[in-house]
Symmetry: C2
Subunit: 282 residues, 2 copies
């Protein structure tokens, strides 16, 4: 595995791979790799000649009251996990390397951001889209891999790639789950034993919503109410939101039809958990 911290070295190396006709799978991360990331790496490994992984905690996507400084970092462990899972190129630039001076240009995301988690994080997806624009040019991937756990991020990246005509295929990888259905997350360790027992109720609620839709339910409010009721009856968590939209447009629907997302966020005592399912409604 090649490890590099320099933008110029990375870009030159990846350009060479492209000239040799190699396909490049790219997994952009903020590090502290877990099984969700490993699923992305494995998928990229199956589909491409070269797998590149970046670790960069991007200050631009953290709000002033968010935890940029406290975000967990363990670059040696990340390197080991990347290497064990077949990553070819490991790119871990410093903040100074990625932002050597104030940016003269920035990407602003105008659609798909005023809902779900984006609603409470103004500017977050501008920071995501800006750093991805930079990374896409540095890495020049054939395919880029993102987890469906953050379905809104996938929707934003879909818009970025499509509207700016990036010659990149977006690959959305299904959420990795525990055996009881709980979506894997670094934050699950903050759950108390009691909360951990309750937490699978999120996915159960989403499954019930899916079942109701498959049985003919088409009213978004009814489906959301069902999810809320189930979570309230089966957990001590406080519901942040339960929302349902056309996907990936993230536009409200009067009647469910086409590809839709049902997404939920809840707060336990020390952990905020999110989950979602995307389904096709006939």
């Amino acid at each position: 595995m090649i490890v590099t911290t320099k933008v110029q070295d990375m870009q030159t190396m990846m350009q060479q791979y492209r000239l040799e006709g190699k396909t490049i799978g790219f997994v952009p991360t903020m590090g502290y790799l877990h099984e969700g990331h490993v699923a992305l790496i494995k998928k990229a490994r199956e589909e491409n000649d070269i797998v590149a992984l970046s670790v960069f905690v991007n200050p631009l996507q953290f709000g002033p009251n968010e935890d940029f400084a406290r975000y967990p970092r363990d670059i040696e462990r990340d390197e080991r996990i990347a290497k064990e899972n077949g990553v070819d190129v490991f790119f871990c630039p410093s903040v100074e390397e990625m932002y050597p001076r104030p940016l003269s240009v920035q990407v602003v995301v105008k659609e798909r951001v005023d809902v779900l988690c984006g609603k409470s994080r103004p500017g977050h997806f501008d920071g995501v889209a800006t750093v991805l624009t930079k990374l896409f040019h540095i890495v020049m991937p054939t395919r880029a891999y993102f987890g469906m756990k953050d379905a809104q991020q996938v929707a934003v990246v879909d818009g970025l790639i499509r509207d700016f005509h990036f010659p990149i295929e977006l690959v959305a990888v299904p959420t990795v789950r525990e055996e009881d259905g709980l979506a894997k997350s670094s934050r699950n360790i903050y759950l108390s034993p009691e909360e951990r027992k309750e937490a699978p109720a999120l996915y159960q609620a989403l499954q019930r919503a899916k079942q109701a839709i498959e049985n003919g339910e088409r009213h978004p409010e009814t489906v959301c109410a069902l999810v809320k009721d189930y979570i309230q009856a089966n957990t001590s968590a406080e519901i942040d939101y339960v929302e349902i939209y056309a996907y990936p447009e993230l536009k409200p629907l009067e009647k469910l039809r086409g590809k839709v997302i049902i997404a939920v966020a809840v707060r336990f005592a020390n952990a905020r958990l999110i989950d979602n399912i995307v389904m096709d409604v006939k």
Copy 2:
């Protein structure tokens, strides 16, 4: 010469050239080609295997009170000029092809815009940077060619390419001038015979400024005053601005040093003319 109006066809074709190891020179234009554009085409022709030219009057870079609808268009003539000067690929998409739906993302330019012509055209360079980001991904050029007549646009594109790490070399081509020094422009035809005789005074004023700096002058205000005085003494034009900045940063300088631009905009009865020189100050 291949002519295409479709984004997908263009991108596929250019990707093929890149895979064959060919270098691509790109000349983005709004059409109504004149000798300034021909100079860009010739330079691109000298330096690349393939020359691509786009003609697209970009609505995004026109303000609500600007002349998008009245902007001159003559696509047959543009095609002929492009062909005569050795263009290989002529890309002329419709507005619907470039903007089939509202953009979910946009580029915002944060530096180098609040001076010179940008001051009176809020949002103009956001539109320029956004359409160039799209075109750069569609055309995937090795080099992109811009005229120094619009030195602020060159500065903005320099920031765009550098800060987003586009793997593209920016080539700034010197302003093409009439024999008497007047910068070539489609708008020169709007000058009365008397104004046309006066107009070379712009370039003469800039040359005098250059001479003064070479003779040791280092105060921006003194140089600007010299340019203003010369234009006022020798033309009937109203001065819009005379400004001097570090280039390409477009930041004010207390004392002239390094690469600087001296730029001027004036209004004759029916034509607004701009001109500039860039020079190295020891």
